[in-house]
């Protein structure tokens, strides 16, 4: 796509005499550019609205004060594939949770691990009989969604929570995450993910800023406004009845969290974000790992956009603003290639002699995109989040997020183009790419 755009640019520059006859083409390109600009401006407006809401409006935490109740039976799923370095700590933390022991089952879902994960899990299960119920999966399609789908057949509790193997939940977290399920309208709940290995290098520090913006501002604002908080696949949970009603986990998706969020939404269930349910996680420490992670997210998100976008538009039972927010959420990753296309178009039109409109749009695109799409959490959202978290010094690193933004834009664009190309050729196989862990065992 990019090569075609550059070629077109050279052609236009080389043959100015043809410019008059190319007026319809130029008009079409300007139309596309204006459309992209409008989309970018819409996202910018949305992020401004979220930031202002988070900073100045009333905050909704309706279930956080439920501190005593007859807690429902609960299963905690811990998805694990070659997690020998971290699985023991996660299970130990869950064993120490402040939740009635007779109502809590911990189910490590060991998905075809080839390292010592199975042995560690079995050892802990033997030492805590009845509390840890391991599920060892030896065959079937790869991926977290497929593993969770198989594990679901063994679960009978009304509520299930999902954690990744590198998470260390606090003692009160299980109760806090379960409390929203007393509301019969709630289908899923999501807590806040907080990076623990911030000090490792520049990348982890930038990811810490990005996560803060995404959760502290973006998710909480959507919760405040009654829009579409997203179930994130970990530090969260689902009501079993709701999950069964929407057809369970789908094994052929790369982002099972986004997929479940939108299927629940379309079926009339609410997803609740609990900003005070914080849990530490490990973020990627190297750029190649980060790139693979973004690539998987982008492909999964785009897949969800393809599957649910039209249904969401047609869902008359949902409020108009909810539908709009849902579409914008689904389209987040699809905007990266559009952004690149917009830049290319602006250049083409500029060199083709359209020095007014194109230049203005180019400037607008560059500026607004920088502020809006920086690593998927707008920069001003990051600033607001850091302020709300009470940190100060790390905010100085904000300009470096441009680096992460560029990496993300290129990675997401390539992933999207590859995905579209594979779909056009009829190859739709999705390859699960597990995020590398950096913590050392013990």
């Amino acid at each position: 796509m990019r090569q075609m755009t550059i070629a077109a640019s050279f052609w236009l520059v080389s043959f100015p005499a043809h410019a008059a006859s190319l007026a319809p083409l130029r008009l079409a390109l300007e139309g596309v550019l204006m459309l992209i600009s409008a989309l970018v401006a819409l996202y910018a407006l949305r992020h401004y609205l979220f930031t202002v809401n988070r900073l100045f409006a009333e905050q909704r935490h309706p279930y956080v004060d439920i501190d005593c109740a007859t807690w429902p039976a609960l299963t905690v799923l811990v998805a694990a594939h070659n997690e020998e370095a971290v699985i023991g700590d996660a299970l130990q933390a869950l064993l120490e949770a402040d939740y009635p022991a007779d109502r809590l089952s911990i189910m490590p879902v060991n998905d075809r691990s080839t390292d010592r994960t199975a042995a560690i899990v079995d050892d802990l299960a033997a030492r805590h009989p009845g509390r840890i119920i391991p599920y060892h999966r030896h065959c079937g399609p790869p991926g977290k969604a497929a593993a969770l789908r198989d594990a679901m057949e063994r679960i009978t509790t009304p509520v299930l929570l999902v954690f990744d193997a590198d998470y260390l939940p606090a003692r009160s977290l299980l109760k806090q995450l379960t409390a929203p399920f007393f509301d019969p309208e709630v289908g899923a709940v999501m807590g806040r993910v907080v990076p623990i290995n911030v000090e490792r290098n520049l990348l982890t520090r930038l990811l810490d800023l990005e996560r803060a913006g995404g959760y502290q501002v973006d998710q909480q604002a959507r919760m405040n406004l009654g829009l579409v908080p997203q179930y994130g696949g970990t530090v969260g949970g689902v009501r079993r009845a709701a999950l069964i009603a929407i057809g369970g986990w789908h094994a052929d998706v790369l982002a099972e969290d986004t997929d479940v969020t939108f299927r629940l939404l379309l079926a009339g269930w609410k997803t609740v974000y609990q900003n005070r349910c914080e849990c530490h996680e490990e973020v990627p420490e190297t750029w190649p790992v980060r790139v693979r992670q973004i690539r998987r997210w982008a492909m999964g998100h785009n897949q969800a956009l393809w599957r649910h976008g039209r249904r969401l538009l047609a869902a008359k039972q949902l409020d108009m603003l909810v539908r709009l927010d849902g579409l914008l959420l689904l389209g987040t990753f699809a905007m990266a290639p559009l952004l690149l296309l917009g830049w290319c178009l602006a250049l083409v039109l500029y060199y083709a002699g359209d020095g007014t409109g194109a230049a203005v749009f180019a400037g607008q695109l560059a500026l607004v995109a920088f502020g809006t799409f920086g690593n998927f959490a707008a920069f001003f959202e990051i600033a607001a989040a850091v302020y709300l978290d009470g940190s100060r010094g790390r905010l100085k690193l904000l300009p470096f997020n441009a680096l992460g933004f560029l990496v993300s834009t290129v990675t997401v664009s390539l992933a999207t183009i590859g995905q579209v190309w594979a779909a056009l050729r009829g190859r739709r196989s999705l390859v699960w790419d597990k995020t590398t862990r950096f913590r050392k065992a013990g």
């Binding site: 909704r60 309706p62 279930y63 004060d65 439920i66 501190d67 005593c68 109740a69 007859t70 933390a93 402040d98 260390l168 939940p169 606090a170 003692r171 009160s172 109760k175 806090q176 409390a179 007393f182 509301d183 019969p184 309208e185 907080v194 990076p195 623990i196 290995n197 911030v198 000090e199 520049l202 520090r205 810490d208 803060a212 914080e278 849990c279 530490h280 978290d389 940190s391 100060r392 010094g393 790390r394 100085k396 690193l397 904000l398 300009p399 470096f400």
Partner: protein, 314 residues
């Protein structure tokens, strides 16, 4: 020459915003992960427990042992906490900024102001007293006119007399006034006399997109959710939770087994019971108003403030 100078000047100007970033990158000063207290269990009694633990650490021995040893002594200051072994009566208008610990019972006269107080026995707060941080005891009696912006917790029972203001109260049994008794007679109006399902009996959850009114004497076997106001009729029974997206009014004599949550305010009209001794439940909303004798097993949390008043004529 001038052009090069101008170019460098422009470049330097562009780099100025990056200078703090470069400094923070090369000499990191704010790299700690956001702290999460993993041991925090959300227990309402944690403040009192931590205070006792702090005291024990300062004394170097369990409190019960210390109380025995110093039974004959008067109050003494240990680690910023006033400690007394025997029962104490605080005179009128006493003001205590420090925390207090009493191994037996403690009674305050009128208009005392307390910071934090932990009592192993009965704590009786005199009329017009105020607890600013926390109060904890085996049993707590709150006389009329008290203001309780702090956290009030008891192992067994808290009895409050109107009028009083509160924010967070937790105990196995919280009595607002003289509580109603969950006797079979009181249950009669919630169960159909012939035992058959009638229009007032609902099996499962009840949900409404807007406001919701539950009829008098209705029996709901599940939870209730209304995105708008919710009104629970008199003598109704709800086996699950009650959630309101706006205001929630609980009619006289209603019984609710599960948590009670409203996004704006909750009003108890009197003779209501929430939870049971074996199954405590939480009541939470920014504003909670209790207008008659009510019994709550569990906790009440009114972040913006709660009041217990008996309107005239009742």
């Amino acid at each position: 020459m001038m052009a090069i100078l101008a170019l460098w000047t422009v470049l330097a100007a562009l780099l100025v915003p990056l200078a703090p970033a470069l400094a923070e990158w090369r000499r990191p000063r704010d790299t700690a992960a956001m702290p999460i207290r993993r041991e925090h269990d959300g227990d309402c009694h944690a403040l009192a427990r931590n205070e006792k633990a702090r005291l024990e650490a300062a004394l170097g021995a369990p409190l019960a042992q210390q109380v025995t040893v110093h039974a004959a002594d008067g109050p003494r200051l240990v680690a910023g906490i006033w400690v007394c072994a025997r029962s104490q009566d605080l005179p009128r208008h006493s003001v205590s900024v420090d925390s207090l610990y009493c191994g037996a019972a403690m009674r305050t006269s009128e208009y005392c102001q307390l910071g934090g107080i932990v009592v192993d026995g009965l704590l009786a707060l005199g009329c017009g007293s105020e607890v600013r941080r926390f109060a904890h005891g085996r049993t707590i009696h709150v006389r009329p006119g008290c203001s309780l912006p702090g956290r009030i917790t008891a192992l067994r029972r808290i009895r409050l007399q109107p009028p009083c203001g509160f924010v967070r109260v937790a105990a196995a049994r919280i009595e607002f006034g003289v509580p109603p008794q969950p006797t079979p007679a009181a249950l009669k109006c919630t169960v159909p006399a012939d035992g058959k399902a009638q229009s007032g009996v609902y099996n499962g959850d009840v949900f409404a997109n807007t406001s919701l009114v539950i009829a008098e004497g209705a029996h709901i076997s599940g939870a209730i959710k209304g995105r708008g106001d919710v009104h629970i009729g008199a003598c109704a029974y709800v086996a699950g939770a009650v959630i309101s997206g706006a205001a929630l009014v609980i009619g006289r004599g209603a019984r609710i087994a599960g948590p009670v949550v409203a996004h704006q305010r909750i009003v108890f009209e009197g003779d209501c019971i929430v939870g049971t001794l074996r199954s405590p439940a939480a009541v939470c909303a920014p504003h909670v108003e209790i207008r008659g004798a009510t019994l709550i097993h569990g906790s009440v949390w009114a972040r913006a403030g709660g009041v217990f008043i008996i309107p005239e004529g009742i």
